[in-house]
Amino acid sequence: MDDQRIIGLIQAGKDQEAFKGLYAYLPKVEHLVRQNSGRSGDAKDIFQDALIIFHRRVRSEGFVLTSSIGTFLFAVCRNLWRDELRRRNKAMGEWKLDAEADEPADLTALLAREGEFKQAEQALKSLGAKCVDVLIRFYVKNEPLALIAKALGFSGEGAAKTRKYKCLEEARKRYRLLVATTVTTVLSEVEVQHP
């Protein structure tokens, strides 16, 4: 599938179809990860994250494709895997691939933000299916509160709204906790490196 067609599918909301085409790039990423002390399962996970990042990029305003999708996905995966290795405290000397010229310049900043979004996603998912359902209906599907209340069995719009913000509030608490834990980990690594 060519790049323009993939982008067209994502913009039309046919995510699954687009992703199916993009999985053709997975073997290359698998190779990269396997060469750098990972397993193909790891490759699958970071590739999925890369797909989500690409998806957001396409759906954001003023999107222009500056490199081929394959190049972008590969660059993202390479960075994600490098971060993952760092997180796992593997010897960084083993890393064979440094940043290359074809990487988008703003990739590091982009990935830092996406990392936060992923933590938010994890915090949300830990709340349980009902909260996630309410929030998806509200923020992603833009369903009116009356419809959400009816579909999920709330007594009325007010109840649905309160529930939504309570979910969001609880998600925020957990998200802050996740962020705090990550910062601590990074700090302790710094201490190890510079005793």
């Binding site: 397993r39 999925q48 797909l51 989500i52 923020y139 992603v140 913000y165």
Partner: protein, 347 residues
């Protein structure tokens, strides 16, 4: 609503861009003076992005399953007949091209897995799910084992078919890391086997183990690496020391091997030979197809009525019947009637 919740609603409106210019300026001024509010805005923005990621990730997961199972790859097939269900089975195989049928499958990931006593300590996540034995079931595990469980496959100890829901537990260790993590051995007596992977299958009703009807075997297909030659199927027996001895090797049954549809020859037997005999160009596929399709109707009638001298008569009869049915505003299809019989055949 409490004040905090009200504030979150305000942030939502700010992030949506649904505030008017006046509101917006006021809100931004408030945020500038209030670090806590700025943090709330940042967090809420991240959480909204997090919400948006959930369905996208679900789509990616589904796409991965389609990508993986839709791709014809090296597969192995073995028809497994287990006399007693509780056996750990090692599947060793012959590399074959067999594509898995992704249709009508039950997604194992969707099921809540519960750890059973006899599967603890393996460090493998057991897949536990309940299936209806009154219909055919196809299971696809995350690592790609495909199990075909036919209707009525399970019986009780007396041989009566079980109709109550059956709880199935599956463990799979296909790659070396999983096998090592699970502490599985590959010994058969004193001989070391080369393994292509192992799986464990258990079926119970109300805590009692069930049997498999020998006339309705469960078929297991296991992903294979190419180049693994004459693999065989072993049954595992767990010893008192917890190690598994692999016994009773059986050769694998060859299942259907799919071939590319474009390589199939759909011409009737002797068709090409006859064309060659008549001096036609048998290398010209377009001509052969055209000629074959031009006889399609005739062949259909041949199949319907049989090749007999009475064909002319029966065809005339059929034509009369079809005229009759259309004249009477019959069904939209043309109905042909077999001479001497009352039932109609749809063409």
């Amino acid at each position: 609503m409490r004040d905090e919740l009200h504030l979150m609603e305000l942030v939502d409106r700010y992030l949506d861009g649904s505030m008017n210019a006046e509101e917006r300026t006021a809100f931004e001024a408030r945020a500038k003076a209030n670090a806590e509010l700025r943090e709330l805005i940042d967090d809420q923005r991240a959480l909204r992005e997090g919400v948006a990621r959930v369905p996208v990730r679900a789509a990616a997961t589904k796409a991965y399953q389609k990508y993986r199972f839709g791709k014809p790859g090296p597969w192995a097939a073995g028809a497994v007949v287990l006399a007693i269900v509780v056996t750990t089975t090692m599947l060793l195989w012959r590399a074959q091209n067999l594509s898995a049928n992704a249709e009508s499958t039950t997604d194992l990931n969707a099921q809540n897995a519960r750890v059973l006593d006899d599967t603890t300590g393996t460090h493998l996540d057991p897949l536990v799910l309940t299936i209806d034995p009154n219909s055919d079931t196809t299971l696809v595990t995350p690592n790609g084992i495909v199990l075909d469980i036919p209707r009525g496959a399970f019986t009780d100890s007396l041989g009566n078919a079980i109709t109550a829901p059956v709880r199935v537990t599956l463990l799979e260790a296909l790659d070396p890391l999983d096998i090592m993590k699970a502490g599985l051995s590959t010994m058969s007596g004193d001989t070391l086997l080369e393994t292509g992977g192992m799986f464990y299958f258990d079926a119970q009703v109300n805590g009692k183990k069930v049997r498999i009807d020998p006339s309705k075997p469960i078929t297991a297909m296991v992903p294979a690496q190419p180049g693994q030659g004459d693999m065989q199927l072993y049954q595992g027996a767990k010893g008192a020391d917890g190690l598994i001895d692999w016994r009773d090797p059986k050769p694998l049954k060859k299942s259907l091997v799919p071939v590319d549809i474009t390589t199939l020859n759909f011409y009737p037997p002797g068709y090409e030979a006859k064309l060659a005999e008549l001096g036609q160009d048998v290398m010209n596929k377009a001509f052969k197809d055209s000629l074959y399709f031009s006889f399609a109707g005739a062949l259909e009638r041949m199949l319907l009525f049989g090749p007999s001298e009475n064909n002319v008569l029966t065809m005339a009869q059929a034509k009369a019947d079809s005229t009759y049915s259309t004249a009477n505003n019959g069904p939209a299809c043309r109905c042909w009637r077999r001479p001497g019989q009352g039932q109609g055949d749809l063409e």
